[in-house]
């Protein structure tokens, strides 16, 4: 390559990077603004034009934890997300394995239809039933409703991961005398472990972020983080610093978890339809 053409190449590269940064700023800005606002005082947050340079304060975070049972909300969110994810994996993993291995696509398609129905369609009947059973504001009711999202997700995403497990290995185990159950436990599960971790994290994120089901099913005792933040909004004067601090606290764990499973996120978000 001549010097001139490599120089031209460098210039093209430089432009690519400038373009990239310009394109990425809009995607980062709202989350960055949320974080910045959480470090500002109320005066700085209500200033116009907006304040860009300021001395950060952690006062909003202190206030969020002091004025509200924020640890309880966090604990509630964790119980519900872990409970629904655990149950979904327990029930869904054998199912996804069998659907992948014995090619039962009919079952899979029926479950996919469930993804299309609006959430409120599931919510209203369950709300009425839980009201009658006096189960509103219990972990069990929340976990069950979150399972409506988690179980089909685990089934669909894991079908894809189990299909990636080489059939020869399962056959070999079977010839060695493994039962189907043993082949599943000792061969398929260990091989699909990265997929299981990714699916579990995705299911956890979906439950953690869930607004609609928790809004109706959670009461004061089991209030999850999104509902807590939503209820802050209805206070008389909006305290933007406190709100953005709360929003940052909710969002941060999800963003960190998502980075761990980034290779599989598209698969999860498209219900396993695309391996992205």
């Amino acid at each position: 390559m001549s010097a001139a053409s490599s120089w031209r190449q460098d210039r093209v590269n430089a432009w690519t990077y400038v373009l990239l940064v310009v394109l990425l700023i809009p995607f980062l800005f709202p989350l960055g603004w949320m974080f910045l606002s959480s470090l500002k005082t109320q005066v700085q947050n209500t200033a116009y034009p907006p304040v860009w340079i300021f001395t950060p304060t952690l006062g909003n975070y202190r206030e969020v934890f002091q004025k509200n049972p924020f640890f309880t909300f966090t604990w509630n969110s964790m119980v519900v997300a872990a409970g629904s994810t655990g149950l979904a994996l327990l029930l869904g993993l054998p199912g996804a394995y069998a659907i992948a291995r014995f090619k039962r696509t009919g079952i899979a398609l029926a479950i996919l239809t469930a993804r299309m129905a609006p959430g409120i369609g599931y919510l209203i009947p369950w709300f009425i039933l839980f009201t009658k059973a006096k189960m509103i504001d219990t972990y069990s009711a929340l976990i069950l409703t979150h399972l409506i999202v988690a179980l089909p997700l685990v089934l669909w995403v894991m079908i894809g991961f189990f299909e990636d497990v080489p059939g020869d290995l399962i056959e070999a185990a079977r010839i060695d005398g493994c039962s189907h159950w043993a082949a599943f436990l000792r061969v398929a599960l260990p091989l699909a472990k990265p997929g299981i971790v990714a699916t579990g994290i995705l299911s956890f994120i979906f439950s953690w972020n869930n607004f609609l089901f928790s809004l109706i099913i959670a009461g004061f005792k089991t209030r999850t983080l999104p509902i807590a933040v939503y209820s802050f909004l209805s206070y008389e004067e909006i305290n933007w610093g406190g709100l953005t601090a709360a929003a940052t606290i909710i969002t941060l764990p999800v963003l960190v978890l998502a980075l761990f499973v980034q290779k599989h996120i598209v698969r999860g978000l498209t219900f396993g339809a695309l391996k992205g």
Binding site: L24, P118, I120, L123, R186, F211, L212, P226, Y230, T251
Partner: protein
């Protein structure tokens, strides 16, 4: 390795039922019960109260929706408007971004990571920060559009632009999905058509319209399918930011159904609205699947 227990022998004889039964039963209980309940209630009139029992009204709920309910027709139109606008915006932006990113550069991993953030961030938090940014008096959006000589706007408190303003939020959230899906599609494109096109002296634009776009069509349509389904059902962002307001200016079908069912507790009517919403989702899905198969 065979343990030879009764359980193992039983699973070996009937592997499919044993493996799938737990999940199928739970899915059936969790989902089939609500579907049947909704279908039943959609032809009844019932306010959630223990004093009266549901009264069979036939198709009266549906007749009421389409003939007498101005608010329903408004919601139906807004659902179509919001979905059309949001999916179009994110489709064009998402594919354009993918084409720009589909070249070798360092830091691809970082770009991917940044793209994931809007999709996984908690919707309530997203709605909240956008509310703050859209605030007419202190919001940073008016400041930013003011820098290029536009505005100030009232954003989500202005009935005329609330739906586009909400579509922008959805677009911010989901353009990355389209981009990532399209990038995956671009990575699988064959090289031969491009090689022969170069030999034939085709321009870059010609190659894009004649080769890239047709080859990407199936991928793009799957992305579109997912986004259209979810846009039709968008709830969190709209409910937190506007609760369907100002007035009913952003009350989509899903938000309206929520109000009818869980605010007014008119379970029968809400159920028939749900049937209509599901029919809409199913209709759009089937249409897109048909387009994907190329029968249109």
């Amino acid at each position: 390795m065979s343990s030879g227990t009764g359980w193992s022998r039983f699973t070996d004889r009937h592997p499919v039922p044993v493996f799938t039964l737990p999940s199928v039963v739970v899915v059936a209980v969790l989902m089939v019960f609500p579907v049947l309940y909704t279908l039943y209630m959609s032809v009844h009139s019932w306010f959630a109260s223990s004093l009266t029992s549901p009264e069979f009204v036939g198709l009266a709920n549906f007749r009421r929706a389409f003939l007498d309910d101005e608010r329903f027709r408004n919601a139906l139109w807004l659902t179509v408007y919001f979905t059309g606008l949001a999916t179009l915006l994110q489709l064009v932006l998402g594919v354009a971004l993918a084409l720009l990113l589909n070249r070798p550069f360092r830091g691809k991993g970082v770009v991917r990571s940044i793209f994931l953030l809007p999709m996984v961030a908690t919707p309530v938090a997203i709605a909240l920060v956008w509310m703050m940014m859209y605030n007419p008096t202190l919001g940073v959006m008016n400041y930013l559009v003011g820098l290029v000589g536009l505005g100030p706007y009232n954003w989500v408190s202005n009935a005329a632009i609330v739906v586009p303003a909400l579509a922008v939020v959805d677009t911010w959230e989901w353009t990355p999905l389209i981009t990532l899906i399209t990038l995956a599609g671009l990575a699988t494109l064959p090289l031969e058509p491009y090689e022969s096109a170069v030999i034939d002296g085709a321009s870059a634009a010609q190659m894009f319209w004649r080769i890239t776009l047709p080859l990407l069509r199936p991928t793009i349509i799957v992305a579109l399918l997912f986004r259209a389904i979810d846009c039709l059902k968008t709830f969190d962002i709209i409910y937190v930011m506007t609760q369907g307001g100002p007035g009913f200016a952003s009350e989509t079908l899903n938000v309206y159904t929520f109000q009818v069912g869980l605010f007014y507790f008119h379970i029968g009517y809400a159920s028939s609205l749900l049937v209509i919403l599901f029919a809409l989702v199913l209709g759009v899905s089937l249409a897109l699947i048909k387009v994907r198969r190329g029968s249109w």
